[in-house]
């Protein structure tokens, strides 16, 4: 049971390693077994090749017309029935034996790992090459890089670098470790991740760690607006932590944090906006006082 739980937990963190892929063809029938892969397919202009996505998929809206499949645990029969030519997977969500399992049915499995923003962009380009939409994919990457450059220029105007803690949950303190791309998101936004030095992709923090690191801003994966008083209620000793004391506790859409897809740039923009809102970054560019 615990193995299943662990695997379930890994669903939260998406990810993967490029496998050799064949040139694209109109006959491709693709099943995405990870929401991040679905988003990347659409961003690469190859969404029309998708025949099914996971039950967790909710973006882009075009996924509403696609078949749904249980990816965890994988509904193998339903997958075979869809007669896909290719399955897109991520190494963390899907089992390592997937390729050999599906190989028996002549289904190619492309599995990817994401540990940096660069990985996301290179997978996007690779998908474009695979499915015959290289120009579309490269344009998408250029667009994303352009937006990142704009965010970089805002960051360059920051006078200080707020120390940021990103939490997956607020009760048990799941956080992203040093090997996660989320640290890079925080840094690109203009902050410094306090968990950036921890080994691995994820960690369960102790309350003392947060007291010791004293983050200026705490971001929590939350679909709704996060109530900062909830965090103080759960962790009463954090009243001296600057982020809690000064009210810089914010919710960030989990989709931005957990899905290594094109929307990480939206995530970086959202984080940067919160840093500016907190007043801690002291941005000369966005300070309305400087631009009357």
């Amino acid at each position: 049971m615990r193995c299943f739980l662990l695997a379930g937990l890994l669903l939260v963190f998406a990810g993967c390693q490029p496998a050799p892929s064949a040139p694209g063809a109109e006959t491709e029938r693709v099943v995405s077994l990870a929401p991040s892969m679905t988003e990347l397919m659409f961003a690469a202009g190859a969404g029309r090749h998708l025949v099914a996505v996971t039950r967790s998929d909710d973006y882009p809206p075009a996924v509403d017309t696609l078949e749904r499949i249980d990816s965890y645990p994988l509904d193998l029969e339903a997958l075979i029935a869809l007669a896909p030519t290719r399955v897109l997977a991520t190494s963390q969500i899907n089992t390592p034996t997937l390729a050999s399992e599906l190989g028996d049915f002549d289904i190619q499995v492309d599995s990817y790992t994401f540990s940096s923003l660069g990985d996301i962009f290179s997978v996007l380009v690779a998908l474009g090459d695979t499915f015959g939409t290289p120009a579309h994919a490269r344009a998408a990457v250029e667009n994303l890089e352009g937006r990142l450059a704009n965010l970089d220029s805002v960051r360059a105007s920051f006078d200080s670098t707020p120390r940021v803690l990103v939490l997956v949950g607020d009760s048990v303190l799941y956080a992203f470790g040093g090997e996660s791309y989320v640290n890079e998101m925080v840094e690109r936004a203009g902050g410094q991740s306090v968990t950036g030095e921890l080994p691995g992709e994820s960690a369960i923090l102790s309350e003392e760690f947060v007291l010791q690191e004293a983050p200026d801003v705490i971001l929590i994966g939350s679909r709704d607006r996060y109530d900062p008083s909830r965090l103080l209620r759960l962790h009463p000793t954090w009243d001296i932590v600057p982020a809690v004391r000064d009210g810089h506790v914010y919710g960030v859409s989990p989709d931005y944090l957990y899905r290594p897809g094109p929307r990480v740039v939206d995530g970086i923009a959202a984080i940067q906006e919160l840093l500016v809102e907190s007043g801690l970054a002291d941005s000369a560019l966005t300070d309305p006082g400087l631009f009357p």
């Binding site: 949950g169 048990v172 102790s206 000793t237």
Partner: protein
């Protein structure tokens, strides 16, 4: 000779208390933030009103995080060990432990039902995770008890088998709930809870487990003679005039309460209730008058130490304590088993 034995026991008792105090201080001293015994002393002086101020971070770390944690770990460790002793005596089986009657599976199922959002909205409002776990453990035990009881007689064999079967059923239900959960993002919290941890220890969670443990250990120590007799067998005990059926019922009710409270406080922590009673038996013998208090002390020391390891092994991070109790406790127990048994 008769005078020397009590002196030796007093010495051993003092030694055990010294150990408990030492690991207690270790629990206050070690953690993510590096503190000295001087810092602990400063916080103690501040909290007793001797000094007017102290570093607010030290105060929070020692007084609000580590001290309740040490106390709760001690109470739960002692409680589980005492329950282990009682269960092993009750069913006269060395494999018996606090969770053998399905209590842990019941608690897990209760927690899963609540936490993964399977309760109606009205009920979910006022039931907390510990309460749900407690209710689940009582349900499991009630079922096992109902199956094992025939008229006025309670069959311990049937109780054991029913407990194991109910544990399997409830584990299956927990697994199903996890798969069917409409709130998959909550799985991580539940997983951590299922493996046991004192990371959420707060002052308000300390009194109930502490009181239950002290009461349970005291009552079992007072019942030392009937328990000793029960160890020989139900019939011999009966022939000595001991109300065996009443004793069995009281034992089951008491152990259920204590285990339920322990599980609700810190999740399912394995091995303590199995290993500590045996290890203590090797050291002080089978007489309950010595065994029960020794097991309580041993359990408290073991779990406080395990908790220190759980929060210091990986810097800045928490490990579920169930992993530590198994990894540290089992090899020690195997060594003891090998060196002490003929």
């Amino acid at each position: 000779m008769s005078e020397r034995v009590p002196a030796r026991r007093v010495f051993l008792g003092l030694l055990a208390l010294l150990m408990l105090t030492s690991v207690g201080f270790a629990g206050l001293r070690f953690g993510t933030i590096d503190l000295t015994f001087g810092d602990i002393w400063d916080v103690f002086l501040y909290r007793t009103g001797v000094t007017p101020s102290v570093d607010p971070m030290f105060d929070r770390v020692i007084w609000q995080l580590r001290l309740p944690r040490v106390l709760l770990a001690g109470a739960v460790g002692a409680g589980l060990s005492v329950v282990g002793v009682a269960m092993q005596t009750l069913v006269r089986n060395p494999l018996a432990e606090p969770y053998i009657l399905g209590v842990s599976s019941g608690a897990s199922a209760g927690a899963a039902v609540l936490y993964l959002g399977f309760l109606p909205a009205g009920a979910a409002g006022f039931i907390t995770l510990p309460l749900a776990a407690f209710l689940g453990s009582l349900l499991a035990l009630g079922l096992a008890y109902g199956v094992a009881r025939v008229g006025p007689v309670l069959s311990t064999t049937r109780l054991l088998l029913a407990g194991v079967a109910i544990a399997a059923l409830l584990s299956a239900i927990t697994s199903f709930l996890i798969f069917a959960s409409p709130q998959p993002e909550k799985l991580q919290t539940l997983l951590f809870w299922l493996l046991g941890s004192f990371s959420s220890a707060r002052w308000e969670f300390v009194p109930l487990p502490l009181i239950c443990t002290v009461l349970g250990a005291s009552v079992l120590t007072l019942w030392a003679r009937p328990l000793d007799a029960l160890l020989v067998g139900e019939e011999p005990a009966q022939s000595l005039g001991i109300p065996v059926e009443t004793l069995k019922r009281l034992l089951i009710a008491g152990t259920a309460l204590l285990t339920g409270v322990a599980v609700a406080s810190a999740g399912v922590i394995g091995f303590v209730g199995l290993i500590v009673p045996h290890a203590t038996r090797f050291l002080v013998g089978v007489t309950h008058r010595r065994l029960v208090p020794s097991a309580a002390l041993g359990g408290a020391v073991f779990l406080i130490l395990a908790d220190v390891v759980a929060r210091t092994l990986l810097a800045g991070r928490e490990l579920p304590i169930g992993i530590i109790t198994a990894v540290c406790g089992v090899p020690f127990f195997l060594l003891l088993l090998r060196s002490r048994l003929p």
